[in-house]
């Protein structure tokens, strides 16, 4: 198990490096897929089989396919050339990486189990779906629902972003009845004003001609 854990950890890192180092966006996404699957393998070596399966189904099987879908649809797989638009981006990223690594090191050194490992293993129940489901919907109900609402908000936001704008009413009358009884401020009442007419289309002028006749 320990060997498998170390190997999978190494694979995770390799995938991560490919993700940031690959020049082709599709290769980078594939590197990320490799990382996600290796993380699922790490879960599996830790006896969390449900989590491992879910990780593969949700992240590697669905979300990354959507990533790739968008990359291919927008043809974004050409290597990026030219300079980064953000100044000092590499330096900043390096600094962030060092801070993160430091934080993780401190965590790893100072970590204390919230409860004894034996008790936690017993509570895990071999990582089966029923135990996880029960824990998730009783003890961790509030965070669980909060995450659901977060996702819901994201979905609503996405729908709102891609929705076509509602058609605005224009000045062009649609039916004959409207044409015969023009409301105040419509084409006929301002018929004498030259600038407005200039902006109107040929079609519109013809319509006015019809009405005057």
């Amino acid at each position: 198990m320990m060997i498998a854990f170390i190997l999978l950890g190494a694979l995770t890192l390799v995938g991560g490096v490919i993700t940031i180092a690959a020049r082709n966006a599709v290769h980078a996404a594939l590197g990320l897929v490799g990382t996600l699957i290796s993380v699922a393998g790490l879960f599996a070596t830790l006896n969390a089989s449900f989590l491992a399966a879910t990780q593969v189904i949700v992240y590697a099987g669905a979300i990354m396919v959507l990533f790739l879908f968008v990359i291919m649809l927008l043809n974004a797989n050409q290597p990026i050339s030219g300079r980064d638009p953000i100044p000092f981006v590499r330096e900043l990223a390096g600094l962030g990486g060092v801070v993160l690594a430091g934080a993780f090191t401190i965590l790893a050194v100072s970590y204390k189990d919230p409860r004894p490992v034996a008790e936690a293993t017993l509570a895990l129940g071999g990582g089966s779906a029923s135990v996880i489901g029960e824990t998730l919907l009783t003890r961790f109900l509030l965070p669980f629902e909060a995450v659901s609402i977060l996702l819901l908000v994201a979905i609503v936001g996405a729908v709102a972003l891609v929705q076509r704008p509602v058609p605005q009413p224009d000045d062009v009358p649609d039916s004959e009845a409207e044409l015969l009884t023009p409301p105040v401020g419509s084409a006929i009442s301002r018929g004498g004003s030259q600038p407005v007419l200039q902006h109107q289309s040929l079609q519109h002028r013809n319509d006015e001609g019809e009405v005057r006749a």
């Binding site: 879910t54 593969v56 099987g61 959507l66 879908f69 779906a129």
Partner: protein
Amino acid sequence: MPDWLIPALITLLKAVLVALALLTAFAYMTLVERRLLARMQIRWGPNRVGPMGLLQPLADAIKSIFKEDLQVTMADKLVYTLAPILAIGTALTAFGGIPAGPAGSLFGADPWVYNLDAGLLALLALTSMGVYGIFLGGWASGSKYPMLGALRSSAQMISYELGMGLSVLGTLMLIGSTNFRVIVEWQALQGWTILFQVFAFALFLVSSFAEVNRTPFDLPEAEQEIVAGYLTEYSAIKWALFQMAEYVNMMTASALMATLFFGGYRGPVFLDGLIPGISGWPIIWLVVKIGFFLFLFIWVRATLPRLRYDQLMRFGWKLVLPLALGNTMLVAFHLAFLRPSGLGLWFLGLLSLAALLVLFVMGDRVRSLWSAPAAPKVPAKATRPVGGD
């Protein structure tokens, strides 16, 4: 020889045997499919090579292995080679998790390659990885039609994966386990799940057809629209690997249907009166059930025309997914309220059957959900009368 080595070798042997069996089954499946399709279209089909055409798969295999392996210039070399391997690899791995008999029934060995507690979830995870083979193959070909096929397949498989996963959820809730062996043994005691979950089975069947890209959902390789879809630039053995993956996926889907809804590796118990223990014989019952569903796949291919792409997407999202969700709610309702009040599983079966019948009767009413684009929000402009004043 250390203790762990012998089980490992046995598992390896079983894995190799399963892979060989699947690939042989694939080869003869192509022949059976062509003969059956021919029979349904009142013609002969391949009957020249060997007696009754039985050596045709061999000839096909030799041809596709020795054919020149073409590679287009614009292809992404690594991914182009990796894609077919990924497709067949995940397909073969997925099948290994399905048990073919009770524990220890295969000459003292267990008739499965691996048995996980999260068996069904692992299988769904593996089949969801199968989309990468098609998707990457289409992209790596570096040409337009394969790209279109790849985009189609990814959207289609993600959409129907949801319906597929949700439609088996009711079964899982009834049985309370994702382990295939527990699922089969539960059915041996309580009766086949199809009796209580016929509605879920209908949804699962439709989703399975979409998941394995078979007619009427074979949009990723629709010949009349996009040449051969993701397969366009593939030839020789790589093309054959993709075909293998498709057929192995069909067999996995059939085995999944048999295991989840039709009692899996257990045969009918009444036969035990004739030959004692026949319902516990390994492999044979699973193979019979798989064979039935494979025939169904071919039959449907000979019967139904292909859906239009937008119809396919709307069908998945507007019909299969909500109905599968409704089925889950139905089972939850049964477990929470009806079962404590003494109504047994048969009542759930009746409800499920009623739901299926309502769907059949209402079929034409709800057809507009998927057959035509949604009505535009913009009100139609009144047309001006033709002519002068």
